[in-house]
Amino acid sequence: MTKRGWTKLLLWVGLVVIAFALPTILRRDPYWLTVFCLLAINTLLVSSLRSVTLINEISLGQVGFAVIGAYAHAALMMKAHIPFWPSLILSSLFSALIALAVAYPFLKVKGIYFSILTLLTAETFRLVAYYWTSMTGGSLGLTGVPGPGKQQVPFVGEVNFDRPANYYYIAVGVVLVALLILYWLERAYISFQWRAIRDDNLLAGAVGINVIGYKTINFVIAAFMAGLSGALFASYQHNLSPDTTSRFGVSMSIYLLVYMVVGGKDYFVGPLMGTTVLMLIAEATRSSQQYQPMITGAIAILVILFLPMGLVGIPKQVRSWRRVKRLRAAGVDGVNPAGKEGKA
């Protein structure tokens, strides 16, 4: 392992340790745990969006798969009385299945069209949830989505995971496992094919890579993760509503993209960084309520204009600025003395 690899591993372990120690550090303050719980769930959703960018597409429809995951989880637990864990997996799988069903025609559409297509699809899923009153409760919302309930934990005893402070462990744990899977995929051989497709899909096809096939795998995995985050959210919130202002509205789809870009879309920790920074800024600026969207908007624009690599990319960015400065300085040194001499 290289030195950088070690630092990276150490940082990750530190992050995980802090994540699990947070409840103790915060003296089990349910408010901050609520915030961090949502943060974890959102990070997963943003990571799923980032995972689609690996095939050079911008999906504005991850929220649509979160809707499916959330309502499927609610239906499985409330109507079919399936326990929490199987339901969590099944509902995510269901979301992935829907993605698989639409993948072939969807992935033939590229670029800006793909973005519009996914945006409208997510909106369609939301509207279906809105109008399918018998299943989803419609605009009235669905109340009483169960959480994991009391569960036996080895060495610890019975823990009631319905309490927000304890649900935190489930949310963070599941999200960590999901992120680990996504991380694995980026180290796996398949990431090489995705990269090839991202760089040039015609050439990828010409060297024998099944472009639609590998894109489908990516899309389905991303939908699984989005569905998982939706299901986690359903059990966290215990009630769901498909209003435009809810987290299933169009604006959330686009927000996710902002989270990702602000964090740095080329980095695996980008979504985590972006979500954390923007959500914590939103919490910190609670008092300046009507200016809050303005702050988020300004951050988004500034980052795109001045930090194209995002917050995680700052060190790299600074290094490149320095290099440019050095080169300029060198250039000036090389040219200017003569000029000065000439003037003098």
């Binding site: 591993l9 372990v13 340790v17 202002t245």
Partner: protein
């Protein structure tokens, strides 16, 4: 291999932290699950020890404390205008009380402090805000929400923390998110405008005896129960509903809906509780509807006059909202305070409903003799069922609702009735809600 060993150490470390942290929560489980957390002791502040304000009577005694009320309303997003009206009314209420030296509850005098939080119009925003208010700010009471999903989200947090929750507004009375016996700490110091059905129908029967056919315009947000109730009330008066159209939340153009309703040739178009009744009136009149237009929403008659503009359209319009052109002295006082503070913003009639909410809750606390624990307060409130037990800006009211919602936790008070003729607002009077 070295790296494998490191991974092992890391894994052990992570699991260790997890178990340690979890064991803490299992321990806490056993200590706290038996007794719900009680509200924190209010902090004491120095201040003038007089009591006045709309609710206070009696001589000053005891210490001056702070009554902390957390509010959760949409402050950003499309519903923010409602949040604005409500929070401003609450600030004015706090000003009234605090300038008069506070409110006397039991032996102590309380200054009122509001902490406003933004629900962003979403359930997750509401629940985060509730969690902050309850766990960080340690408020004594939570008021707020507009959407049903937000109410459910708040109730979940307040119920777990043992804090009283007074819900603002109920778009859909009797919905699963409304007050009920399975939510022991949720109350509604707010009347529903669907209580106006019999009042409006009786007035129409008297004023427009030949009008029998009603066309209903219904927002598609779960009003089925309210429509059923109205149907029974209509049938009891020998009228009939000839058409009914549902429109989705967020509709701005009502011409298609009104086209269809108008096609049934109704005598009356009835716009069920919605903030867009003015747009509906405009559309109906533009399409040539000449009959009676009823709006039982909290939308002020003055709003109709300002937005519809055309006097020909502003005729035979019946409103149940606060009539700001014919206010009671108390409402006038509130409007003046508003104008003094925000001279550029017209008064929003929802503020009247909002002002009553903390006032009602304070009256309950006064009756209970302490800001006390939530369960006692709810019990006290349930007992205030005699007319006149509660004072509101609209006159004497009482707590009821058992016949409709199974629990007596809903405010009832007189409802205003106005009519617009040729662009002029006529105030008919205050009507007592009728049980039907």
């Amino acid at each position: 291999m070295r790296s494998k060993r490191v991974f092992l150490i890391c894994a052990v470390l992570v699991i260790g932290v997890l178990l340690f942290s979890l064991s803490a929560c299992a321990k806490e489980e056993t200590t706290t699950s038996s007794a719900p957390a009680t509200t924190a002791a209010p902090s004491t502040t120095a201040g003038p020890e007089t009591t006045a304000g709309p609710t206070t009577t009696g001589a000053p005694a005891g210490e001056v404390k702070t009554l902390k009320i957390g509010t959760i309303m949409p402050q950003t997003g499309p519903l923010a205008i409602l949040g604005l009206a409500f929070t401003r009314a609450w600030d004015l209420y706090a000003e009234d009380v605090n300038q008069a030296g506070g409110v006397k509850i039991g032996n102590d005098t309380y200054q009122i402090k509001f902490i406003h939080e933004d629900s962003k119009g979403s359930a997750e925003g509401a629940s985060t805000a509730a969690s902050k208010l309850v766990n960080q700010d340690k408020v004594d009471l939570v008021i707020g929400a507009i959407l049903e999903s937000e109410m459910a989200a708040i109730n979940q947090v307040t119920e777990a923390a043992g804090v009283l929750y007074a819900q603002a507004n109920a778009n859909i009375p009797g919905a699963p998110q409304d007050v009920s016996s399975d939510k022991p700490l949720q109350v509604r110091p707010f009347i529903n405008h669907d209580e106006t059905g019999p009042i409006d129908l009786d007035y129409i029967a008297k004023t427009y005896p030949e009008a029998k056919k009603i066309a209903l315009s219904v927002p598609d947000i779960g009003y089925e129960g309210m429509v059923e109730r109205l149907q029974a009330q209509v049938a009891a008066r020998g009228m009939q509903i000839v058409a009914q159209e549902k429109w989705p939340w967020g509709t701005t153009d009502f011409v298609p809906i009104m086209t269809k309703l108008n096609a049934a040739k109704p005598d009356i178009i009835w716009a069920m509780v919605s903030g867009q009744a003015n747009d509906q009136l405009k559309a109906a009149r533009q399409l040539g509807f000449k009959g009676v237009f009823v709006s039982n929403s909290p939308l002020g008659a003055d709003v109709f006059v300002v937005t519809v503009q055309d006097p020909a359209a502003l005729t035979d319009v019946i409103c149940n909202s606060v009539d700001v052109t014919h206010p009671t002295p108390e409402v006038k006082k509130l409007m003046d305070a508003w104008q003094a503070k925000w001279p550029n913003d017209p008064f929003i009639s929802d503020a009247v409903h909002a002002y009553d909410m903390p006032w009602v809750m304070v009256q309950v606390m006064q009756k209970a003799g302490a800001i006390g624990d939530a369960a006692t307060l709810v019990k006290t409130m349930e007992g205030m069922t005699n007319p006149g037990d509660i004072q509101t800006l609209h006159g004497p009211g009482y707590i009821g609702g058992a016949d409709r919602f199974g629990v007596n936790r809903v405010l009832y008070r007189p409802l205003p009735l106005s009519r617009i003729m040729n662009g002029q607002i006529e105030f008919i009077g205050f009507m007592e809600p009728v049980k039907e």
